[in-house]
């Protein structure tokens, strides 16, 4: 039996021009930390069409620095399409001819959804650090309101996410059992261990020690850019791998700057500095603090130290994929989720892809991954 031959060849297309929408929830929203906001905004995009039965929706959950724009382009001048454009589209693994794809930004973020840089109507200025501490569960609860109020959905065909998006889809399965029929989590974890918390804290310290941070009170465009760029540079290293970086940069040098002996000399320095610099133009430093804290606090092991206690609520079919070169959320942390699910008699599949590109492998060109997702989602 050869499964490869039974695949119908199809030429995949692109979703093309897309635009975002804002969901305004006007009910009070109470965060896990106990604080309440009078309402919130979630920015989202959709691709494909919701069917009459309203059972073909697929939710995409993004990672720490991702956003709602996961496929297509906003304008013909865009240099790059959405971040998961190679996975989502007509004839692609998540086929927009069949599925209605929704991708929302997260609560606490800075790309159109409510977060620390949003205006507090009571003071007329940004919330800054008065914004409630946000959790992964809060992000998911806000998405739930979007799906149930805006689209009147009572089920999801699937919820798909990598890294922090993987935490969200697991939380979806736990908080709303059976709502998502299928859950796909990639390069994710049931909780972060000391090393990852440590990296996040170095990033936060870089931001908070930048004088422009000013206890979180800064004007738009005058924030702690140096701190945020350094945080991003360091975090970016954790998304790559030793081998991946070696293959990409090695010891290659760029044209030298005669004036400053400490200017970027190696290509890898140049690359990271560019990553840092471009990040400050699209990300808010306070959001970075809030979201990395949400990651650090996420813990499916709970007080008992047994993931089964939280995962036993799950009624979805689950696919978890680990990547061999991922040292941020390594394969064993992905496997542990599947072990716990299987121990409590749940339906959970584990696959592991041998890619050199580290944690970010799930975002890059990965035909084996696309096949897995397609097989799982279409079953």
């Amino acid at each position: 039996m050869n499964d490869a031959q039974s695949m119908t060849p199809e030429i995949p297309g692109d979703v093309g021009l897309v635009e975002y929408h804002d969901f305004l929830c006007e009910q009070p929203f109470t965060f896990d930390c106990g604080k309440t906001l009078p309402g919130f905004v979630l920015r989202y995009e959709t691709y494909g069409h919701l069917n009459r039965e309203k059972n073909n929706a697929v939710l995409i959950c993004h990672a720490l620095s991702g956003d709602h724009h996961c496929a297509g382009i906003h304008s013909l001048k865009d240099r790059k399409p959405g971040w998961w454009d190679n996975l989502i589209g007509p004839g692609k693994s998540i086929d927009t001819n069949r599925y209605f794809v929704i991708c929302s930004n997260v609560l606490g973020g800075c790309q159109g959804s409510s977060g620390p840089s949003s205006i507090n109507s009571q003071t007329g200025e940004p919330y800054f650090l008065d914004f409630p501490e946000v959790s992964i569960a809060d992000m998911v609860r806000a998405q739930y309101l979007l799906l149930t109020q805006q689209f009147e959905l009572s089920e999801l065909h699937a919820a798909v996410g990598g890294s922090m998006g993987g935490m969200q889809v697991l939380q979806w399965g736990i908080a709303y059992p059976g709502f998502a029929k299928r859950i796909i989590g990639l390069a994710t974890t049931g909780r972060q261990y000391a090393q990852t918390i440590a990296f996040n804290d170095v990033g936060r310290c870089a931001i908070m020690q930048d004088p422009n941070w000013n206890e979180g009170r800064y004007e738009a465009g005058k924030g702690p850019d140096v701190g945020l760029a350094v945080a991003r540079m360091m975090a970016h290293i954790t998304y790559l791998s030793d081998k991946g970086m070696e293959n990409k940069f090695g010891r290659q040098r760029k044209a030298s700057d005669q004036g400053n002996p400490f200017a970027a000399e190696f290509e890898v320095e140049n690359y990271l500095r560019y990553q840092g610099k471009s990040f400050i133009s699209r990300f808010d430093a306070n959001s970075y603090l809030y979201i990395t804290k949400a990651l650090d606090h996420f813990d499916l092991y709970g007080e008992s130290g047994q993931m089964e206690d939280s995962l036993c609520a799950m009624e979805s079919r689950v696919l978890i994929v680990g990547f061999t070169s991922d040292w941020l959320y390594p394969p064993e942390q992905n496997r542990d989720i599947v072990h716990a699910l299987l121990r409590c008699g749940k339906d959970a599949t584990y696959a592991q892809l041998n890619m050199d590109l580290g944690h970010d492998s799930f975002l890059l060109h990965a035909p084996e991954l696309y096949q897995l997702i397609e097989n799982f989602i279409n079953d």
Partner: protein, 204 residues
């Protein structure tokens, strides 16, 4: 393995094991390949199963069939489960490919109330004649590859397997000997005449 011919040959093997497994059982298939057996069990017996294989393409095929699968090492995988977590553990043509088949069997008997084992009988008379005449590993429908390309293959025979079970106090609940067609049952002189053997085992 995996050719159409081998698949057809395995049909009886799978039919027999299916008969043993009760409706709704929890089944672990070690070396599940593309999940054909678990799919069959799921459709026919409504079992809840999980297969283990090391190859990502096989896992992807399982996923396509709607079969739950785990990519990784079978020995390490079993360590995460409590005793008798599974109603059945199936090792169909898996044992001979392991570097320590005894350890696999021991772990399978720990996590499974029942263990189904199937293997090609190396002591089958034609294999013996081949060794006697040529002094080399036989090459036929069962052993399809030249030694240099073949996977690790521990020669298991009915005689040594049953002696091992006796020594380890493993209870043989059922045994089925099939002729070289892997279909027709036989009774007499099994170690000499059996092409394929299937057992149901238990250990308290």
């Amino acid at each position: 393995m995996g050719s159409g011919r081998t698949q057809r040959k395995r049909q009886t093997d799978l039919e027999i094991i299916s008969e043993w497994i009760d409706e709704g059982s929890r089944v672990l298939d070690l070396g599940c390949g593309r999940g054909i057996f678990l799919e069959h069990l799921k459709n026919r017996r409504g079992i809840r199963g999980v297969g283990v294989d090391i190859n990502v393409d096989k896992i992807s095929s399982c996923v396509k069939r709607g079969v739950t699968a785990y990519q990784g090492d079978a020995l390490a995988f079993m360590d995460v489960f409590d005793d008798k977590h599974f109603d059945w553990v199936v090792c169909s043509r898996t044992l001979q490919e392991m570097s320590e088949p005894g350890l696999l069997l021991e772990k399978a008997l720990r996590v499974g109330r029942n263990v189904a084992v199937g293997f090609a009988n190396y002591a089958y008379w034609k294999n013996r004649v081949h060794w006697l005449l040529h002094g080399s590993r036989p090459r036929n429908k069962v052993f399809t590859q030249e030694w240099a390309e073949s996977r690790a293959d521990v020669p298991i025979s009915i005689g040594i397997f049953e002696n091992y079970c006796a020594a380890k106090e493993i209870e043989i609940c059922q045994r089925v000997y099939l002729k070289s067609d892997w279909k027709t049952p036989l009774q007499q002189l099994p170690n000499l005449r059996t092409g394929y053997a299937i057992y149901s085992l238990r250990k308290q």
